[in-house]
């Protein structure tokens, strides 16, 4: 039992730090560069993101193992997963509009973009590819969400400072954000080999 717990813990750490989606798998970059300009939006986005990610990982796991595998239509995984995610995003969009209109006003456009976001789709795809169990899938979703949140928050705090920096004209804006991300990614390579699964 305890070894299973260690394994789950390792999975979360590995998904969030070692194989961080942004810095080593390069997924979700559009949103990463889009919402990392301000701390407040970054935090709101990370919370929504992690929640949607875990729920979609759970539902996709059930659909994949109970429906697609028995019917031998696993090649339809992309279509099915994207459908699940689109539905979920629509749902969380509606809930957020009711519960927290202020946050909705700020994140509205990015929330709509979540459904076309690669990380959210990548989590069920990787879960299916690695044949994770239900609990492992959840842990992987949580770890990936935390990793993305960490990346967003680091980047947002750097970019708030970067506003004041004297950057050469052609590098202003996105190019500089890319170079900074490269430097963070370089730091994150230090985590590789921390845990070998």
């Amino acid at each position: 039992m305890s070894s299973e717990f260690t394994k789950l813990f390792e999975l979360i750490i590995s998904a969030s730090l070692i194989n961080n989606f942004v810095f080593t798998r390069f997924l979700g970059l559009c949103i990463f560069f889009g919402v990392s300009k301000k701390m407040e939006t970054a935090v709101g986005m990370s919370i929504t993101f992690t929640a949607v990610m875990m729920v979609s990982a759970a539902i996709s796991w059930v659909v994949f193992t109970q429906l697609l595998v028995p019917l031998q239509i696993t090649f339809l995984e992309i279509i099915v997963f994207i459908g699940i995610i689109a539905g979920l995003v629509q749902l969380s969009d509606t809930i957020m509009r009711k519960v927290s209109p202020g946050l909705y006003y700020k994140l509205g456009i990015y929330l709509a973009l979540i459904s076309t976001n690669c990380i959210i789709l990548a989590v069920p795809l990787i879960n299916a590819g690695e044949k994770y169990t239900f609990i492992q899938s959840l842990a992987f979703g949580l770890g990936s969400g935390l990793g993305f949140a960490l990346a967003l928050i680091i980047m947002a705090s750097i970019r708030e400072k970067l506003e004041l920096a004297d950057v050469p004209a052609p590098f202003r804006g996105l190019p500089m954000a890319f170079v900074v991300t490269g430097l963070i990614a370089l730091a994150f390579t230090g985590f590789s080999g921390l845990i070998t699964l």
Binding site: T24, L29, I82, A86, P170, F178
Partner: protein
């Protein structure tokens, strides 16, 4: 009339390559631009996959545009896109298994490309078949061009080789093929494009004076 049409199509084609280049100008669909570009071969195949999907999606949507209920158009667009992505995925797994082994996940993630959905929504659902195909070709070639440039640069500097063939036989700058190098490469290339643009714009303004 026909010559007028031709120039329009040409402009449409160039629009996707230069003015609205997905990666360098709009900064959309960045994930694969870094993930698969550590060697030229993967970059080029990824580019062609996107080109194919973009053209086929534009074609299909444009053919269906009169039958789609506006209220459910987004789910239908997503269905069309994921259908074509599945086709691409299965074809690549069959014909270029070595490339597919490395970029497989990113091929599946073409579904989530904002740029493809955006073209379907903004262009193909409002225009007839031929302009839609040309628009798709322009966007796709622009993407292919960006991926080729990035992967060319990264493989040459990072490994001293191109398409697996050794070009420069010295100790390469290993960082460029590491994950971090991808960000540096895209950042530097974007800055270069900005610089060329401002120079070009300044020259144009100067000449008109």
């Amino acid at each position: 009339m026909s010559s007028h049409n031709n120039t329009n199509l040409k402009e449409l084609f160039l629009n996707g390559i230069v003015k609205e280049n997905t990666i360098f100008k709009l900064a959309l669909s960045l994930c694969p631009s870094i993930a698969v570009t550590n060697n030229l071969k993967n970059g080029v195949f990824m580019g062609f996959a996107v080109l194919f999907v973009q053209v086929m999606v534009n074609l299909t949507i444009s053919l269906m545009r009169n039958f789609i209920q506006p209220k459910v158009r987004l789910p239908i667009f997503m269905l069309v896109i994921s259908g074509w992505v599945t086709v691409t995925q299965l074809m690549m797994a069959a014909f270029v298994p070595d490339v597919y082994g490395k970029v497989g996940l990113y091929i599946a993630l073409i579904v989530a490309f904002a740029s493809i959905l955006a073209r379907a929504e903004m262009f193909a659902s409002k225009n007839s078949v031929v302009p839609s195909i040309v628009d798709g070709l322009g966007m796709g070639v622009g993407f292919l061009f960006a991926l080729t440039v990035i992967s060319f640069f990264r493989e040459l500097v990072g490994k001293g080789s191109l398409w697996g063939n050794v070009i420069v036989d010295t100790k390469p700058l290993l960082i460029m093929i590491l994950p971090a190098g991808g960000f540096f490469a895209v950042g530097i290339l974007m800055a270069l494009f900005n610089w060329i643009n401002t120079r070009y714009a300044a020259k144009g303004a100067h000449a008109s004076h």
